[in-house]
Structures are given as structure tokens and as C-alpha cells.
């Protein structure tokens, strides 16, 4: 496919703004500091009862942070997203006028389902009662994107990609494609998801929730911990960013997208689809595997996923040839928001020269032939890093980011 991919230097994509809300609280710096300190925020879940489930833990936003995020008339997801986007725009020092033609792509999976669950649960238990249907207005993931576009007056291409856990990584790929092909100069890309009963029940039914805080890449890992949050990146063509003297946080090297066509929930043992996604990202970035120092892994903590990702990494980079960590061990798996939050973490690592650790990794799995940076962040000299996101349905997205000084 790469013969069709002709990108001029002016159309190369840069990241000029970051915004996040995470279990650490509000703000990308708060998020990055939490990761850098290796502070695990997976704790007791308070949003809904967890009686009878395998796990009662999650990476939940502090209640005080949520209260401070604007009006309670909006869904929890909308409030997360607006906060992350407003921070990203401020960070990019972008004139709001630029948004009138900007793209916006926000990935998610659950949308405003938490509020809809409240409505449905109440309706089930009291069929004759009068139940407020206001939550239905923000049930769909697209309604968070619409709310963002409305609040920020964003007038360009708008979409809400749903690739399960790869949703917001795909959103970054979408806006990158829109900029590289010259459709727009600027775009907001990101993702949002909140904890929901549906998701919690689903992973419980699949026996994929770890009763303890998740332990990606550990020999005794037993599954994932769920989390919630939002992250938004401001992406621009390098020409546009340079013309306005914008601060460039990182360059988007390349994005790879592939499908396994294998199984609804399990990766193939040879992880061939993930291999293709990573190789496509490398090819589009005009990089070799040796150029990549760090991988922010999908790293959910499930037995199958971690093993398959390690197989793919070994195939692309060679065993032990890159440093790997899973920030899901610190904040949980934020589902549709994970790709964007992990992109922010990857950019943070490039900026700080510091690789966030994998928490709870007391006994590494010998079948994972990589240094997975246990417990403590590690200083490193790095120019290029990759972030992987893989989702149900066999969806694979790999993103490569470069330090501005390394982009040439």
C-alpha cells in the first residue's frame, strides 16, 4: 500500500497540544507525573456495586476531580472529554478561529452508558415509575464528540471511531490521515471512556478481571483492571504549526492499522495482525525497528494478550531489542481512551527522556523476552517511540512518535 502514501514535509503531522484527565486527576502534567512516579491508582471501585464479581478494583477518577469538571447536566464522559480538550487547546495556544475548519475524531466504546445504566436499572426494578430519560441523550459515543464540537465550535470533519480498546489510537490515525492528505491543517484527536457496569460485567464474564491490581507481563498475571479517563491531542501540519510559531511537542511518525480476521476476542498466537500494524507504522515513518527505543505496550495483563504482544514485538524488533512498559498497570485499562492516554504517555517519555514503568511486575514472565521496566521509571535517551493498541474484533493500531529534534 505504501506506494500510494506520498507525504510532503509540509504535510507531516506534529503534536502541539496535550490534555488529559486520568485517575491521577485533571491535567496532562498530573498524569505524566503520576506515571513517572510509578504511582498505581488502581483501587476500590465506588461508582457502582461490585458484589459477586471477581474484582472490586478499578482506576477511578477522584470524586473531587469529577466534581470540578463542569456541570453535572453533562454526562461523566462529556465532562472528561471537554476538560481534556480545553487543556489541549490551551497547551497548543491555538487560536479558536482555527477550529472552524479543524477536524475532530474522538474514539470511545461506552459513551455515556453509565448514566443510561442508571436509567435502565431503575426502570427494570420499578417498571411503573417515572424515570428521567435525559441520560439517553448522551448514550452514544458520537454524542460526546458532538458535544465537544458544539462547545469549541469545531467545523471540520467529525467522527467517532469505535475500535474497542483501539478507538482513540484510530482517532489519532484518522486526523493524521486528514492532515497528511491535505483535507485539513489542524485537528483534535483523542478518546474518552468512563467506567461502566457493562464493561465491568463483560470482562468479569470473560474471567479477564484480575482480583488484584493488574500485573502486565508478570508470570502470575490474571487479567486486567479497568480504568477511566480522557485524552486529547492537538495535531497540525508542520507547515501550519511553524507558520504560527506553535510549540511542537512531538511529531507523528506513522500510524499502522490492521485486522486479525481471526477471533472476536482473542489474538492469534502468531500475532500476525499486530506485526503488520507495527510494520506499517514503521514504513510510514520511514524508520527501521532499530530506530525505536521504547514501546508503550497495549499490555492489558491478560495471559493471552501479553503473550501475543510479546510474540509480535519479538518478530518485529527481535527479542530484548526494545524497552517495553504497560501504563495500564498504573491507571487500569481505560478502554476507548487508552490509545490517546498512552499516546500522551509516550510523548511524555520522549520529552522527559524517562520511560514510565510497569507496576506490580514482581516476577516477570520468562516467556516475555523484554525488559518491561518494573516498578520504577527509567531514564533513557530516545528519539522515537511506539504506542500499541489492540482491540476486540481483532483490531490493531500502532502509532510512532518522534522527538522534535529527531524529526529532521
Amino acid at each position: 500500500m505504501d506506494q500510494h502514501h506520498v507525504r510532503s514535509d509540509a504535510r507531516r503531522v506534529v503534536v502541539t497540544g496535550l490534555g488529559a484527565v486520568s485517575p491521577y486527576g485533571r491535567g496532562w502534567e498530573v498524569y505524566w507525573q503520576g506515571l513517572a512516579q510509578g504511582q498505581c491508582k488502581i483501587g476500590p471501585l465506588t461508582l457502582f456495586p461490585t458484589d459477586g464479581f471477581r474484582s472490586c478494583l478499578a482506576g477511578e477518577l477522584p470524586a473531587a476531580t469529577v466534581r470540578a469538571l463542569g456541570t453535572a447536566q453533562q454526562s461523566r464522559a462529556t465532562r472528561f472529554l471537554l476538560a481534556a480538550a480545553q487543556e489541549a487547546l490551551q497547551n497548543a495556544a491555538l487560536d479558536p478561529v482555527a477550529l472552524t475548519t479543524a477536524a475532530v475524531s474522538i474514539g470511545g466504546a461506552g459513551g455515556g452508558m453509565l448514566g443510561v445504566e442508571d436509567w435502565y436499572w431503575a426502570r427494570y426494578h420499578q417498571p411503573q415509575g417515572s424515570h428521567r430519560q435525559v441520560a439517553l441523550r448522551s448514550m452514544l459515543p458520537t454524542q460526546q464528540t458532538d458535544a465537544l464540537a458544539y462547545h469549541l465550535r469545531i467545523g471540520g470533519p467529525r467522527e467517532s471511531p469505535i475500535l474497542a480498546c483501539g478507538s482513540s489510537a484510530a482517532a489519532i490515525a484518522t486526523v493524521t490521515d486528514l492532515i497528511e492528505t491535505g483535507v485539513v491543517d489542524v485537528g483534535l484527536a483523542g478518546g474518552v471512556d468512563t467506567l461502566t457496569r457493562l464493561c465491568f460485567m463483560g470482562f468479569n464474564a470473560l474471567k479477564l478481571l484480575d482480583p488484584q491490581p493488574c500485573r502486565p507481563f508478570a508470570r502470575d498475571r490474571r487479567g486486567m483492571s479497568l480504568g477511566e479517563g480522557a485524552a486529547v491531542l492537538v495535531l497540525e501540519s508542520s507547515q501550519h504549526a511553524m507558520a504560527r510559531g506553535a510549540p511542537v511537542r512531538a511529531w507523528v511518525g506513522g500510524c499502522g492499522l490492521s485486522s486479525d480476521a481471526f477471533h472476536p476476542t482473542a489474538p492469534p498466537t502468531d500475532a500476525e495482525g499486530a506485526v503488520r500494524a507495527m510494520r506499517e507504522a514503521l514504513a510510514r515513518a520511514h524508520l527501521t525497528p532499530a530506530d525505536i527505543t521504547y514501546i508503550n505496550a497495549h499490555g492489558t495483563g491478560t495471559v493471552q494478550n501479553d503473550r501475543a504482544e510479546a510474540v509480535a514485538l519479538a518478530e518485529v524488533f527481535g527479542p530484548g531489542n526494545v524497552l517495553v512498559s504497560s501504563t495500564k498497570s498504573l491507571i487500569g485499562h481505560t478502554m476507548g481512551a487508552a490509545g490517546a492516554l498512552e499516546a500522551v504517555a509516550t510523548i511524555g517519555a520522549l520529552e522527559a527522556g524517562l520511560l514510565p514503568p510497569t507496576a506490580n511486575l514482581w516476577e516477570p514472565d520468562p516467556a516475555i523476552p523484554f525488559d518491561c521496566i518494573p516498578h520504577t521509571a527509567r531514564p533513557a535517551t530516545l528519539d522515537c517511540a511506539m504506542s500499541n493498541s489492540f482491540g476486540f474484533g481483532g483490531q490493531n493500531v500502532s502509532l510512532i512518535f518522534l522527538r522534535p529534534e529527531a524529526a529532521g
Binding site: 500500500m1 505504501d2 452514544l140 458544539y150 463483560g202 464474564a205 472476536p264
Partner: protein, 413 residues
């Protein structure tokens, strides 16, 4: 000077699962030609306690009964069937190109049927009542994932959640995958289904006709409009780079001359206030297609009988094309309204440029505007360029221009 489109693709196959049957291009053409509505009293669930009772349903007999299909949700069955039909018509089956093809699925509601069944398991029996088999279907990309497995599609795969114009968006996004060099062939599919809880809830929210005003009926653009009638279906189109289609000797049905999308900021769930005379998505679509507004012979609009929707979309079209603009038509009075219907509109536009077949708005007695032209008579001769237009609550705006193949010199004949 002859202006050339900025970027183009060809449509090589169509697959349609609808209340009219399951088929490809020929089915779509027959539906338009017959101009008979599939809307009738709902059969699959009771509506006696509701203020609406009509819909356009797909009979169970149309859906596959194979061992493989039994593992899929109804919505996934519809998606797989439509995509398989489109791929077969495009001659992509069993070819290496199929494995590399991309897939974009657009849906408004996804699989709420499975979501409710999954939740009910918990509400009735607690955690032990949860089905691990149902959970994956509650994620909106389940239809795409199932289709990629069933067809062996290993290229980029996206699911787009979008109110109203999910089908159009799938086509536009598929075009971007081609344009960005991510695939040489992409299947774009729009899909949504009717199911009892959704229907009941939408009726309670007064979304469908009659909304407390007279007869329950679907009459887009007519002063007697009082809401849409809900429907369901899946339509897939195969989009390819012209050289790719030519290389493999594929049948080329029509050309996508441009596919643009954007957003007019609007409160979620509401239609935007349109800035008069400024419709950048339509302008961009015409510019990219190198088409003069006067050359667009017909337009399929997304309006479905919602008074606000009808008014806003017509204002947008009137602004752009003026009084001598394209003949305006709709398919929602035939198919019912659902979020993924836009791919059917694109397929209909293909039939119109190829054979001049289009639905007429026979119900139209009192149009809400008189400064535009409605398709009350068959269009002759077949227009060279047809617009598939979409405007959604929340403000997403799409414009896809479908052209006849022999009007383009550099596309394979």
C-alpha cells in the same frame, strides 16, 4: 480548461439486506423502480401500547441460518450478508485483494439488542447470569469484527458511530483510507436494526411519526410531515482505486467523484443553525469533483420527515444550488429511516447515474419549499452526476458525488 477531480474511486460491488430482500445492484435498482414502500405494521414485536406501530422490517427468512451465522448477532448477520453480497458482485471473493481490503462500518445504535440481553442476564441472575458470548456484541465494532473474520479481511477496519448519516460517513471515511494509501479496496457498510426496546424508547421520546399529530406516515418535504418511520437494513458498497479495479478486471458500476464530510457545530441531538450561503462541505465536494452545481442532476437527501431536518437540509441545498438545482428525492418513504441508511442512498445514486432509475415522491402534495425541484416525475435522461447528501442532528454534514463512468476519460472503461 477541463478540471479533474482531486481524488476518485470506483464502486465495483453493492450488497443490500433490506425489507425488500437480499441482493446487489439489481435489487437496489428494482426497489427504486418499483417505488413501493416496505413500511407496514410491525410484525416482530407488539406495539399495541405505543403511539406508533409502523416500521420497515427485515423478515427473519432473509437472514442466514447456517451454523456459522447462528453464532452471530442479528445485526452482525445483516452486516456480513451485505458485505458478502457486495464482495461477490465486485468479483473480490477468494482473491488475494480481499485479504488486504479495508472495512468501514457505520452505525447509529450498534447492537443494542445484545446489550440489553447481556444486561438482563445480570439483572435477573446477578454475575452468574452474564453471558461471555454476548459481551463482545455489546461493543459497537462487533459487526465489523465479525465481518472481517467471516470474509478474511485483514486491512484497516473501522467502525464509526454516527447519528443519522452513519452510512454516508462510512463511504467518506472509506475514501480517506484509499486516499491515504491504506488500502486499494475498501468495503463501506451502513447498518442498523429495529428492536423492541429501542423502538419503544424512541416512541416515548416522540422521535417517530406521528408525534401526536395526525396520521402515522413518512412524508419528507411535505407540509404534512410529522416524523420519520423507523426502518432497518444493511447496505455495503465496494470502493476501489480505479487502477486496482482495472488491473483485476472488476466490473465498475460508477465513480465516486468526491466524498466530503464536516460538521456544523450544533447542540447534540439538535440540527444546526445554518449560516446562510456557507456550506463548505457541499462547496468542497463540488470543487473536489470538478463538478459545476448545474451538472448535478439529482440529489438523494437524508431528510426523513422530521420537520426540522427537512427544513434545514432543503435550506442547505437551496443555498448551494439555487432554484435550478438538482431534482430532490428521498428513499426513507420506501425503506424507513435508520442511521446506516446512507450507503443505500449511495447505492441508489449509482442506479440513477447508470440507468436513470430513481424514486418519485408520489405522496408530495404540499411541499415545504417551492424554490427547489422535487422528483415527482422520473428523471430523464439519466443524470451524469448525482449527490448523496446527509445532514444529521448534532451537525455532521456529508456530501458524496457519484458520477457515471463514461464521463471520465481516465477511468477504465
Amino acid at each position: 480548461m477541463v478540471r479533474m477531480p482531486t481524488y476518485r474511486a470506483v464502486i465495483t460491488g453493492i450488497g443490500c439486506v433490506s425489507p425488500f430482500g437480499v441482493g446487489g445492484y439489481d435489487l437496489v435498482a428494482e426497489v427504486l423502480k418499483a417505488n413501493v414502500s416496505a413500511i407496514q405494521p410491525l410484525q416482530s414485536f407488539p406495539t399495541a401500547d405505543l403511539t406508533s406501530c409502523l416500521g420497515a422490517e427485515i423478515p427473519a427468512a432473509y437472514l442466514p441460518k447456517t451454523e456459522e451465522a447462528r453464532r452471530w448477532s442479528r445485526l452482525s448477520q445483516m452486516t456480513v450478508l451485505a458485505c458478502r453480497q457486495a464482495v461477490a458482485e465486485a468479483g473480490l471473493c477468494d482473491s488475494a485483494a480481499l485479504g488486504q481490503a479495508g472495512l468501514v462500518v457505520g452505525s447509529q445504535f450498534g447492537d443494542l439488542r445484545s446489550t440489553e440481553a447481556f444486561c438482563l442476564g445480570f439483572l435477573r441472575k446477578g454475575p452468574l447470569g452474564l453471558s461471555p458470548l454476548l459481551f463482545p456484541s455489546t461493543v459497537m465494532n462487533a459487526m465489523a469484527g465479525t465481518t472481517s473474520i467471516a470474509l478474511g479481511l485483514q486491512g484497516p477496519m473501522l467502525t464509526l458511530n454516527q447519528v443519522g448519516v452513519a452510512g454516508e460517513l462510512a463511504v467518506a471515511r472509506a475514501m480517506l483510507l484509499l486516499r491515504a494509501g491504506r488500502a486499494s479496496a475498501v468495503i463501506a457498510c451502513g447498518v442498523d436494526e429495529l428492536f423492541p426496546r429501542l423502538y419503544e424508547t424512541l416512541v416515548q421520546l416522540r422521535v417517530p411519526s406521528p408525534r401526536g399529530h395526525g396520521e402515522e406516515v413518512c412524508r419528507p418535504f411535505d407540509q404534512r410531515h410529522n416524523g420519520p418511520i423507523l426502518g432497518e437494513g444493511a447496505t455495503a458498497v465496494v470502493l476501489e482505486l480505479p487502477e486496482h479495479a482495472q488491473m483485476r478486471g472488476a466490473p465498475m458500476l460508477a465513480e465516486v467523484r468526491s466524498a466530503c464530510w464536516g460538521g456544523i457545530p450544533a447542540r447534540p441531538g439538535h440540527f444546526p443553525m445554518l449560516p446562510q450561503g456557507q456550506h463548505p462541505v457541499l462547496d468542497q465536494a463540488l470543487t473536489e469533483a470538478a463538478v459545476h452545481p448545474a451538472d448535478v442532476g439529482m440529489a438523494y437527501l437524508s431528510s426523513c420527515g422530521d420537520p426540522q431536518h427537512d427544513a434545514m437540509e432543503l435550506a442547505c441545498i437551496a443555498d448551494t444550488f439555487g432554484p435550478h438545482g438538482p431534482l430532490l428525492t428521498s428513499v426513507t418513504h420506501l425503506t424507513g429511516e435508520y442511521g446506516g441508511l446512507g450507503t443505500f442512498r449511495v447505492a441508489a445514486a449509482v442506479a440513477t447515474v447508470r440507468q436513470g432509475i430513481s424514486p418519485t415522491l408520489d405522496y408530495l402534495r404540499q411541499p415545504i419549499r417551492t424554490d427547489v425541484r422535487f422528483a415527482v416525475q422520473p428523471v430523464t435522461p439519466p443524470p451524469a452526476v448525482v449527490l448523496a447528501h446527509g445532514l444529521a442532528p448534532g451537525g455532521v454534514h456529508t456530501a458524496i458525488l457519484i458520477g457515471r463512468l463514461h464521463d471520465t476519460s481516465d477511468v477504465a472503461q
